[in-house]
Subunit: 318 residues, 2 copies
């Protein structure tokens, strides 16, 4: 693996990053992914600072392999979080939802490797200017918060690859070895997988959420809340309330009030399948069982190897 | 190429289908694609029956290779069209926007090979029941009319491949050899390319439309008109009028009146860049010049071959 940029950068065995997802990505999930040879990420977005500290400490005990923290830059206590991760000796940070210029140099000065999540070539180039070490390029099919441009992974990865020389991690719609091989053809150096890890045994999501995910069919997730921050959710009663409000021309303020606070916790962590915000990617419709992280990684590897069958030299189209 | 299902089915050299696009896909484009080794399709959706007859006759004169006709099944004069294509000896029909059960058997009885365009696994299975010979699976990133499920090509192709054994043509977001190789990894047997051919010299689109397409940036197309029939368009004055109407909660009837008749002709064929409906795929943002069909096919082939660099054995991730 030594010639893979992502493996070299993070000192990991496989270029598979586990997305830092709210209410799913605690120390159990992150350490399991790191122990299996990928890169586990703690999702700081749903943790109070002292909760994050506890998860970092537990993660360090549970794995001797590298792991990181995903930090949305809009986080209200961002200064506290940044100092805390330095204190705890975290060496890899994935930032998202904000300007990569603000923290990258500071993190580098503390010997921390920085990746930033983008959904457009324009932001990828801003990352390059800001000096980040790698980018995660996330397409429209991804779960949770999403770009306004609605560019899909198939369109986004080659577009960024063409303009930006940073190590490139593809995200959105990737849950199989076939899709890993596909994005590699597009120029990706690694993948970030969220949805498939959200439904593992080690994910801290509520059991009801995981079981609901197994029932999702094609077309059952939708990018919504576009007036606020576009978010991909499973269609449920909460989603229908938003759709109805939008249809009657509700103002952004009305939508904000309807959303309220804590909806994703209510859904993903507390298990309220009707009133919660059920963030998950489109590709969830292809997942039919709850597995361990180890089983997922093994599956991805064997499916990736099998996918080469489709592109063996004797099957070349031209 | 003899072991490729799509090449065998249509008796063509390369498994590249040129999408039958309104106002772009006349006899010049279709015959050029067929002459270059792909499969050209006439787009009946924007032709009166006698215009279609003229294009079929000119196409037969311009190429000795196989070509086909794309027929939206909602076409008002569908009976006339179907009898006309039999009279003219057309041997390949791509149907879309309707139930594949209605015409497939009749077309087979007239010795015509039938492919049907779908945007979901559910409809792919309906095609299998209806006995169609191949399916085109088109993702959210595609231009023009689009599925309500908003499933992207990366998610759609493996999902259909898993459940449906028909020869599978991937569409949406494919405009380079890299993306052709990527969908091959996902299990596709061929590709349908619209956007890239819409901007060739042989396309019958207005020059102003082609030049406007070259200026499109990421995020400048959007899936809109969701209350009627979801359609991907370039953002222009007409798009903004629709967006404004939707934002204030306009009824479906108001949107229908605002749309009116002949908007796509006005935009694509007449060259009205502000009041026309400018149907094109998301991947248009990666295209920076108008080429001939032959140049496009040559580019796709060499880019496909080069893309294998990313997945050479020494770069295997696992």
């Amino acid at each position: 693996m030594s010639n893979n940029k992502i493996c070299t950068l993070f000192n990991i065995q496989y270029p598979i990053i586990q997305g830092g997802m709210v209410w799913c990505s605690g120390w159990e999930l992150a350490s399991a992914v790191s122990n299996a040879g990928g890169l586990g990420l703690l999702g700081a977005g749903s943790m109070h600072p002292e909760t994050l500290r506890e998860h970092i400490q537990k993660c360090k005990k549970a794995t001797s392999k590298p792991f990181g923290v995903n930090i949305p830059l809009m986080y209200p206590e961002i200064d506290t979080i940044m100092h805390l991760i330095v204190e705890e000796g975290v060496k890899i940070v994935f930032t998202s939802a904000g300007n990569p210029k603000i923290w990258t140099e500071w993190l580098h000065n503390h010997d921390i490797c920085v990746a930033h999540v983008v959904s457009s070539t324009r932001f990828a180039l801003k990352c390059e200017e800001a000096g980040v070490d790698a980018i995660v390029a996330e397409g429209f099919e991804a779960g949770g918060h999403n770009g306004r441009e609605e560019t899909t992974t198939l369109c986004l990865i080659p577009a960024i690859k063409e303009k930006c020389s940073l190590p490139l991690i593809a995200a959105g719609g990737i849950a199989s070895g076939k899709s890993i091989l596909a994005v590699q053809c597009l120029g990706a150096d690694g993948v970030q997988i969220g949805t498939r890890f959200a439904i593992t045994e080690e994910s801290s999501a509520h059991q009801a959420f995981k079981e609901r995910c197994l029932q999702v069919h094609e077309g059952d997730t939708m990018l919504t809340l576009k007036q606020l921050s576009p978010t991909r959710l499973i269609k449920n009663s909460f989603y229908e309330q938003i759709a109805e409000a939008e249809k009657r021309g509700a103002t952004t303020e009305e939508i904000r009030i309807l959303l309220g606070k804590g909806r994703s916790k209510k859904g993903i962590f507390m298990g309220d399948m009707e009133e919660g915000e059920l963030e998950i990617g489109q590709v969830v419709s292809t997942i039919d069982r709850i597995q361990t992280v180890k089983e997922v990684i093994d599956d991805l590897i064997s499916d990736y190897q099998n996918a080469h069958y489709y592109i063996q030299p004797s099957s070349a189209w031209f």
